[in-house]
């Protein structure tokens, strides 16, 4: 019985190919929109989350502008902060722009970062060749540097830069390591946005001696237990308040985890809004299906009458028409699914992110189209089932 209904529905749909296609177009567009939007937004979200996890998880970034009297933090202050319970390490950020020179080749406006050994401990994959800095480099303010691939290509083309020397701001440094080509700059440098391809890292103690930098204005705190990040923030605040004499706006603490939470919330909202807009297309598609089903019912009045005369119960007629509209919607849903996945696949490649099939999107797309079929097929199917067989047979 059920199988017959499906067969009949299929026959009716395939007998009106053009009309069926145009009717399902609304559903196709709706489902395509929902699936591609959700897949792309979720892909972006996953991408952002994973980048954040790489760069900022378990980190608290602190920017201390200080007061006119005390323009930043000293080594001593850093020491105090690193003694807070649950703090695994503190890594200062010192960034200045300088020039890099090797054998007459000059690179201007190169961002030079001063980092400590803690930074390398928490970014173990950063240095691909050579060695990262250790605590001895910090204490003895060694004139050593780690350069990235772009710098190495310019200054040491065709040579191994490790062990060679170069000038940074007029001082001679020995190259100790090369930064992994895939490494992204850390979040704070991304945010300060120097926009340079070049990157040189030197010990922060060495950097503090240079360019008149006397104090630390930016640093990161690595938290051991991320569930207790808030406690660390409170402690840090009290230390900074004391250091800067409770002056307003003297420092800013950014919890990267909470930043990630905020971004995820924003993404979720964006997904919801986009899906909402796309479902308007589904609604319109549903109305299209309803229209076609109503036309179909009045076209097939005689057939309905005959079926009733032959013993079809009202329920059978209703089921048949309902199956037909669900079939149409699902057909649209399936085409939309294929189209949506194709579009998001292409979009992912174009944006340059990994394509991940979103099961939520598939579930929503297929679920929605089936729902549309049931909701908008109900009224026409009911109308068909209630037709009086005499009137139906007479309308020849």
């Amino acid at each position: 019985m059920f199988i017959e209904s499906i067969k009949m529905s299929w026959q009716n749909i395939s007998n009106n190919k053009m009309r069926s296609f145009l009717t399902t177009l609304g559903i196709i567009i709706g489902v395509t929109a929902i699936i591609s939007l959700i897949t792309i937004v979720q892909g972006l979200q996953t991408e952002i989350t994973s980048q954040f996890a790489e760069l900022g998880a378990g980190k608290i970034a602190v920017q201390a502008h200080g007061t006119p009297l005390k323009q930043g933090l000293s080594d001593n202050d850093m020491e105090n902060i690193s003694k807070i319970e649950n703090v695994a390490g503190v890594s200062p950020n010192l960034t200045f722009i300088s020039s890099a020179v090797k054998d007459g080749i000059v690179l201007e406006n190169v961002p030079v970062e001063g980092k400590n050994h803690t930074f390398f401990r928490y970014n173990p994959k950063l240095v691909s060749r050579g060695r990262p800095f250790n605590i001895l480099d910090m204490e003895s303010k060694n004139k050593i540097c780690i350069i990235n691939y772009a710098v190495s290509q310019k200054l040491f083309f065709g040579e191994d830069p490790i062990g060679q020397t170069m000038q940074i701001g007029g001082t001679t440094y020995e190259v100790k390591g090369v930064i992994n080509e895939d490494a992204t700059s850390d979040v704070m440098s991304l945010m300060s946005g120097t926009g340079s391809d070049y990157r040189i890292i030197i010990p922060y103690t060495t950097a503090m001696g240079m360019a008149g930098i006397g104090s630390i204005t930016s640093f990161e705190i690595y938290v051991a237990d991320t569930d207790r990040t808030d406690e660390v923030i409170d402690e840090t605040e009290s230390i900074l308040n004391q250091t800067f004499n409770f002056k307003d706006d003297s420092y800013r603490i950014i919890n990267l985890d909470s930043l990630l939470d905020t971004m995820n919330t924003m993404n979720d909202m964006m997904t919801a809004v986009l899906a909402g807009i796309a479902s308007i297309a589904l609604l319109v598609g549903g109305i299209g299906i309803m229209n076609m089903m109503l036309v179909s019912v009045s076209e097939r009045t005689t057939e309905i009458g005959l079926r009733k005369a032959l013993g079809a119960e009202p329920v059978s007629i209703q089921i048949q028409f309902l199956i037909e509209s669900i079939f149409l919607s699902l057909l649209g849903g399936f085409l939309g699914l294929v189209l949506g996945l194709t579009i998001s696949y292409v979009a992912c490649i174009a944006i340059g992110m990994t394509f991940r099939i979103s099961y939520l999107a598939i579930f929503l797309g297929v679920g929605f189209s089936a729902a549309v079929g049931i909701i908008f097929g109900w009224a026409p199917a009911r109308k068909a089932s209630l037709l009086n067989p005499i009137d139906a047979l007479r309308s020849l």
């Binding site: 019985m1 032959l310 013993g311 079809a312 067989p389």
Partner: protein, 231 residues
């Protein structure tokens, strides 16, 4: 005493036409016994189509008692009426009423589908019936590929599908030429000889003569006609 298949007592059917009530059937009394072949003869507008609708359980009377196969039709639900139409009555229409997209075989299978017969049994029964009406080589033809007479045979095969108690034919030759009409009537006679009870509604007295009993309907009243045996 032969088995009584249907009995109508004082059947009245009235339609509301605007403010006026139009009485189409004015107290019909009719008894049909098993194995009978009855013609209901009447001009158009005499109420014969309404009578057929009531006999065929497509419509219920305004008043009166209609008993078909021992069941009172007037107090049945829509679903029960559908069952009765499916199992007890085989309809043959003037314009055949075959579904154009289905093959002859599939058309014959339709009532069997609604009777929830399994696909294999259904197919077997439909094939049997088409062989019976002489269309063994046309089973997979669509109605448009068949002549009028052949289409009516398919329709008759369909009417017989569920072994109905009653074959109900409404102007079965109305859309056919004389020669094919005669062939179709011959088929009805054969079916009657096999024991099928047939009620045929027509306005054509020549066609009505094929039946063993003729009742005339005139202006909503039934008159027992001359019993003519044409054999």
């Amino acid at each position: 005493m032969r088995k009584e298949i249907l009995s109508m007592q004082n059947i009245v059917k009235a339609y509301q036409m605007g403010d006026e009530e139009q009485i189409v059937l004015k107290g019909i009394n009719l008894k049909v016994y098993e194995g009978e072949f009855i013609s209901v003869l009447g001009p158009s507008g005499s109420g014969k189509s309404t009578l057929m609708n009531i006999i065929g359980c497509l419509d219920i009377p305004t008043s009166g008692t209609y008993i078909l196969g021992g069941r009172n039709i007037s107090n049945l639900t829509e679903k029960q009426l559908a069952r009765i139409r499916n199992k007890e009555i085989g309809f043959v229409f003037q314009s055949f009423q075959l579904l154009p997209r289905l093959t002859a075989l599939e058309n014959v299978e339709l009532p069997l589908i609604y009777a929830r017969v399994s696909p294999s049994k259904r197919r077997k029964r439909a094939e049997e019936l088409l062989i019976k009406v002489g269309l063994e080589d046309k089973m997979y033809h669509k109605p448009t590929q068949l002549s009028g007479g052949q289409q009516q045979r398919v329709a008759i095969a369909r009417a017989l599908a569920n072994h109905p108690t009653l074959l109900l034919a409404d102007e079965p030759t109305g859309a056919l030429d004389q020669k094919t009409g005669k062939q179709v009537m011959k088929l009805f006679e054969e079916l009657n000889n096999e024991g099928h009870t047939i009620i045929m509604i027509t306005h054509d007295s020549n066609i009505a003569k094929h039946a063993r009993r003729i009742v005339k309907i005139l202006d909503g009243n039934l008159v027992e006609g001359v019993v003519e045996n044409v054999y």
